[in-house]
Symmetry: C2
C-alpha cells in the first residue's frame, strides 16, 4: 500500500499557553485535510516546547550563557569538543547540547525539550481523537546527530498511540531462517520520513503519515533509549 | 507537497548475474507503476548483493564459521559482546557483523555487502534512466543499529543521482538566526522512510519515493561516513 506523507501548512508560531492540537486542527483545515483512522501525526518538538513555555531567556547571550544552560539541562556529559557538548538529557536521550536549541526562536532565547514528551504526545492525541472521532498515533520529534555517521536525522522523543519499536523476534523469513533483525525503530523511521516534507528552514512543524501499517500498541520514548549499562558506546 | 512512498511488489529473489534494474522495471510493470522524473528508487542491498554474487557458502555453519566471516569482512572491530560484533567495513560503515547477514538467504549461506554500493547504485540508475527516459535518484540501503538508541533503522549505503547530505550552513530561520542544524542526512532519512513500506519479513525490496524536493547533486555513501579521527564515539 502506498504511504503518503502530507505536510500540514498554515501553522504559525506557537506561544506559551497555545493548545498544540488546536494549532494542528487549524492547519489541517487551512490546507484542506482531515484526519483519517490510523494516521500518524508527527509534530516537531519546537511548537510543543513553545506552547508549554519551555523557552528561556539567556541572561548571557554568549558562549558562557549557552554552556551554563546546556549543563543545567544535562544529567550527564558524554563528550566535549570545542563548543560541542554531547550530553544525556533527563529523558535519557543522548544528543548535542542536551536538546537546547537556539534556532527558530528569538535572539537571546533558547528552546528546551518538553519535560515529558510522551505526556505531551498523549495530550495532543487525546484532543485530536476527540475532535476527529478517529484513532491516530502521535509522534513528537527532534533532530539528533549520530555516532559514526555525518548529518542529522529526526528521531522520536515523544510517542502516543503507536509502538516505538516493532519486534520481529521469532519471525522467520521466506527461507525459514529466524530473522537477524529483531527490533525495528518504527517511531524513529517515522520521524525521519516526516522530516522529508518539513525541512529545516521552511517552518512546517507537522506532517501526517497516512497508509502506514503498524501493530497496535502504546510506545514510549523510553523504549528507544538504550540503558547506559547496556550501551557499548558511552 | 505530499510525498508518496510506493512499494514495488512482484520482484522475486535475485540470483547471481541478474540485472537489478531489470528486476525493478519488471516489478514496476507488474504493479502498474512507471517512473517519473526526480523519483528516488530505494533498493535494499540484499538483492544487489545477490545479483552481484556477494553470497558465500559457510564451510562451518556454527558460530566459529560466522565469526571468521565477520572478521574477514571487517577492517576494524570496535566492540564485542557475546556473539555481537560491532565492526567497521571496508566502506567505512560501522555496523553489526560487518554487514554479514544470514537472513533471507539459504541456510549455511550468508549475504555480504556489495563491494562498492555507490557503483552499484550508479549502474542501476543509468539503466533505469535509459529505460524510462527520466532522471531519478537511486539509494541502496541496509539496516543498522545505533549507539544510544534501541532498534534498527535503514540507512543509505550506496547513492547515485541525489545528494547524501543537505547542507543548510549559512541559512537563516524565520527569526534571522543562523540555523543550528547545518547538515541533514537526506539519504539516510530517505532510507528510513522507504523501510516503512518494505517491512522485514514481507520481502518487498524496492520502494519509490515520489514528490520529494531535493537539491541537485551527486552524493556518495562516504559523505555519510564520519572519519574515525573526527568521531567521538569509536
Amino acid at each position: 500500500m502506498t504511504l503518503s506523507i502530507i505536510p500540514v501548512e498554515g501553522i504559525g508560531e506557537a506561544v506559551q499557553g497555545d493548545d498544540v492540537a488546536s494549532l494542528i486542527l487549524g492547519g489541517l483545515e487551512t490546507s484542506g485535510h482531515t484526519l483519517e483512522g490510523r494516521d500518524v501525526v508527527v509534530v516537531t518538538h519546537k511548537i510543543v516546547s513553545k506552547a508549554e513555555g519551555r523557552v528561556v531567556d539567556l541572561d548571557d547571550d554568549g558562549p558562557d550563557g549557552h554552556r551554563h544552560l546546556v549543563e543545567t539541562e544535562a544529567v550527564a556529559i558524554l563528550r566535549r569538543r570545542g563548543t560541542l557538548v554531547i550530553a544525556e538529557t533527563r529523558h535519557g536521550f543522548v544528543c548535542a547540547n542536551a536538546g537546547v536549541d537556539r534556532s527558530n526562536v528569538e535572539h537571546s532565547r533558547a528552546v528546551l525539550l518538553p519535560l515529558d514528551p510522551d505526556v505531551s504526545a498523549h495530550r495532543i492525541r487525546t484532543r485530536l481523537e476527540h475532535a476527529s472521532a478517529v484513532k491516530v498515533g502521535v509522534i513528537i520529534t527532534d533532530t539528533f546527530g549520530r555516532a559514526w555517521r555525518h548529518g542529522l536525522s529526526d528521531v522520536a522523543i515523544g510517542i502516543s498511540g503507536i509502538p516505538a519499536i516493532v519486534d520481529y523476534r521469532g519471525t522467520t523469513d521466506t527461507h525459514g531462517n529466524v530473522l537477524d533483525i529483531t527490533e525495528v525503530a518504527l517511531a524513529d523511521e517515522i520521524a525521519a520520513a516526516a522530516d522529508l516534507v518539513m525541512g529545516k528552514a521552511s517552518g512546517i512543524p507537522v506532517a501526517i503519515i497516512r497508509g502506514l501499517e503498524y501493530p497496535d500498541g502504546e510506545g514510549r520514548a523510553a523504549d528507544l533509549v538504550r540503558e547506559p549499562s547496556g550501551d557499548l558506546f558511552r
